[in-house]
């Protein structure tokens, strides 16, 4: 699991993400602090984060209204999707209340491991942009992209959104001068911005404003915190909003976008205030007098004056993922689906850390409380999710476990990507990963110990051969100084065929086997050999004869203490 350590400034607390979202800090003066006008922050935002995290690990997530239960003792909904909202379902309702409003509602339980995995994927995507990344809140990452050239920021953020989409997470992005503005931009890039906001203060990358299907819904969002809308799965293209003028961007937004408390929202609604611009037009001193500190903080958010330093996180150098399955897995397809999610995320983390995977460690927790562990050594370190997944898929194709799978653990052993100068005449593999896959598939067909490059062992015992992994690089053939071997090549029968031999004196004159039989025309031998005489149970001794049948064919007959056998045919 990618664990992150929050680097805290002295006296600060990381326990309240809401504090980090926008209620602390100094003044930025219209989105940029004096002397820091060039600071640019990006935000990656996953709307309905916990719900997305749970659905991401489902092979066939249900369509239609969906909601997620909260993790607390009260069984109330924590999140719901657009379809559920359209049916009147809202966070805070109990399940019976929600089902009374929407009988088709599908409710999912929270899954902490799935959220951890989704959070790791979000951080991995963020680290592709900059090393200064803050885990602002569940589903929200703030990244300092000041170091990126201006022309590279939008493509880089769009690429990060694409990478997240490839891991099954549909995110939105925003770029602005302060963390809060960037967060608002990311939230509202998923929904609809009034055309004037786009014209005056912001520019949308990746989608034209008129193409957003949720435009009307967002304008009619109820009071309280503006609910960021989940992105429809049918629209996987990244959504990204760049804010250049904070005040112009904020002015047309509904007041709910600034997260007023319900009490303040009710008061401002009574005043007829609908947008951030209308609220920001009120005198600051009067707001402080009538609404107190909370109102003042809201006013500062409405004018875009809130700024704060980031609290960056550091990624631990381990690349692992784990999941305890809610329902036991009995087939390979759902397991492969989960592993694909893991691999996508881990490959992203590897790429962010400029590392590559050398070994894949897979552990399957079975329902009979045993563990099936397997390690896959890659021929070449790789960061490609496809390569890693193919290695896993090929292995699992032939795997049969004694019980259903209750949990999955996957870890990658990272390594630096090595660059080695090959010899001028060395022959390396053209497709190392494809070769590994070929060997694995062949091994799955004929047996894992029946594929490889033969190595003859250092013994005189016949048929002492061992299969080893084929070499990655084949050195050029050394000049042969030895004489050419003599004679035909033995085609060894495994096992040897029992034979009945008729002797003429000491010599074979006729033999019968299930494969060949007949009178012997010519013979050569015998040749005696023995070995391992010092171990009674491994002692072997034999007498070899080469014989040619009158009907044709040259064979090797062997006599052992157990009797005669036909060991092979010279071919």
């Amino acid at each position: 699991m990618l664990e992150n350590k929050v680097i805290m400034p002295s006296g600060a607390s990381a326990d309240s993400p809401q504090d980090r979202i926008g209620t602390t800090g100094g003044h930025a003066g219209g989105g940029a602090a004096p002397g820091r006008a060039s600071r640019r922050l990006a935000v990656l935002h996953l709307s309905d984060f916990a719900l997305q995290a749970v659905l991401r690990l489902e092979q066939a997530p249900p369509a239609g209204p969906l909601a997620l239960l909260g993790a607390g003792p009260r069984a109330v909904l924590a999140e719901c999707n657009d379809a559920a909202r359209a049916s009147g379902v809202a966070p805070g309702l109990t399940v019976p209340q929600a089902l009374a409003r929407c009988p088709r509602l599908v409710v999912r339980a929270p899954h902490p491991a799935a959220e951890t995995d989704a959070r790791a994927a979000l951080l991995a995507a963020a680290f592709t942009l900059s090393p200064a990344v803050e885990a602002t809140a569940p589903g929200v990452c703030t990244i300092d992209v000041t170091g990126l050239a201006e022309r590279e920021r939008e493509p880089a953020l769009a690429a990060a959104l694409d990478q997240l989409a490839s891991t099954g997470l549909l995110a939105t992005g925003g770029i602005a001068a302060t963390p809060l503005l960037a967060l608002y931009a990311a939230r509202w890039s998923a929904t609809s911005l009034p055309p004037e906001a786009l014209a005056k203060g912001g520019g949308r990358a990746g989608q034209s404003p008129s193409s957003n299907p949720n435009a009307d819904k967002d304008q009619s969002a109820p009071g309280g915190r503006a609910p960021p809308r989940p992105i429809p799965c049918s629209v996987p293209s990244p959504r990204l909003l760049v804010v250049r003028d904070g005040r112009s961007f904020l002015a047309p937004l509904p007041l709910a976008a600034a997260d007023p408390s319900p009490a303040v929202a009710a008061i401002t609604a009574g005043w007829g205030i609908r947008t951030l611009g209308e609220f920001a037009a009120l005198p600051k001193s009067d707001i402080a007098q009538r609404l107190g500190g909370e109102g003042l903080a809201l006013w500062e958010r409405c004018v875009g004056e809130t700024d704060r330093p980031l609290q960056p996180v550091v990624a631990a150098p381990t690349f692992a993922a784990a999941l305890d399955c809610e329902h036991e897995l009995e087939t390979v397809e759902p397991l492969l689906f989960i592993l694909r999610r893991f691999v996508d995320r881990l490959a992203l983390e590897l790429a962010s850390a400029a590392l590559a995977a050398a070994t894949i460690e897979l552990r399957l927790i079975l329902s009979d409380e045993t563990v099936h562990a397997h390690s896959i050594r890659l021929p070449h370190p790789s960061t490609s999710a496809d390569v890693l997944f193919r290695a896993l898929s090929t292995y699992l194709d032939a795997l049969r476990t004694a019980a259903a799978i209750a949990g999955v653990r996957l870890s990658l052993e990272p390594t630096r990507i090595s660059r080695r100068q090959e010899g001028l005449f060395d022959c390396a593999l053209r497709d190392p990963h494809g070769f590994t896959e070929t060997l694995a598939r062949a091994a799955a067909l004929v047996g894992p110990d029946r594929v490889g490059t033969p190595r003859v062992q250092d013994t005189h015992r016949p048929d002492s051969v061992q299969l080893t992994a084929p070499p990655e690089v084949i050195a050029p053939l050394a000049p042969a100084f030895a004489l050419s071997p003599l004679g035909l090549v033995l085609r060894r029968y495994r096992p040897p065929l029992p034979a009945t031999v008729e002797l003429a004196g000491r010599f074979p004159a006729y033999f019968w086997t299930s494969s060949a039989h007949g009178p012997v025309r010519e013979h050569a031998g015998p040749w005696y050999s023995s070995g391992t005489w010092w171990e009674i149970q491994h002692l072997w001794e034999r007498e070899e004869w080469d014989v040619e049948l009158e009907s044709g064919g040259v064979y090797r007959l062997v006599r052992t203490p157990a009797g005669w056998c036909l060991e092979g045919e010279y071919d």
Partner: protein
């Protein structure tokens, strides 16, 4: 079909002599180092070649060893699908065995699927499917579609594919040779390279390669 009529084979040999370049796919074939084969263009790449071993001790493993050495000298990799698990590595030096991927099939039925797996690998230069000792009844049970699927796999690659069989069973073979002569016990005293060079092969089928 155990073999082509002699007149048909003679006609094919005549055509081969008159139009020696016709079956070659752009002059790109696997040179075997065996004069009798190389004079007729060697093993075509991207095509199936069948060698029918009609006599005992006809030299099929001698032929394979020769191909293995040729591939080794060029730095190519060789896959051997051993349908009856009869290859004897002790007959060859470790240096020669280095490029070999040996697939030891417990039963001939798994050999053709294994051959298809290896034929789709871009790292191999030569794949040999050894069904020499498989029972004819087993070979006849292999559906023709399996051989054509194998042909399709090989067509998309750059490898040479050789099937060693006891009788003609590969309907999709572009070339079919026969090893009709048995060796004798006295050949055990001759150098192996000489034996390989003296291998007797006869052509049984030669299909023209598809244009382009």
């Amino acid at each position: 079909m155990a073999g082509s009529p002699p007149t048909l084979s003679a006609l094919r040999e005549l055509l081969q002599q008159r139009f020696p370049s016709a079956p070659r796919t752009g002059g790109h074939a696997f040179a075997t180092g065996i004069p009798a084969l190389d004079e007729r263009g060697g093993l075509p790449r991207a095509a199936l070649t069948e060698v029918v071993c009609t006599a005992p001790s006809c030299g099929s493993h001698l032929l394979f060893g020769q191909l293995l050495q040729q591939a080794r000298q060029r730095g190519g990799r060789v896959g051997l699908i051993d349908g009856s698990d009869q290859f004897e590595p002790a007959e060859w030096g470790a240096d020669v065995l280095e490029p070999l991927v040996w697939v030891r099939c417990a039963a001939p039925e798994s050999a053709v699927p294994a051959a298809e797996i290896l034929a789709r690998d871009a790292n191999l230069e030569l794949v040999v499917l050894d069904l020499r000792r498989a029972a004819p009844s087993v070979l006849r049970r292999i559906p023709a579609a399996a051989w054509y699927r194998l042909q399709r796999a090989v067509e998309q690659s750059d490898l040479a594919f050789l099937a060693l069989t006891p009788l003609a069973v590969v309907p999709s073979a572009q070339l079919r040779w026969a090893l009709p002569c048995s060796h004798h016990l006295g050949d055990q005293q001759r150098e192996r390279s000489q034996l390989a060079a003296a291998l007797t092969v006869t052509l049984q089928r030669q299909r023209l390669a598809a244009a382009g």
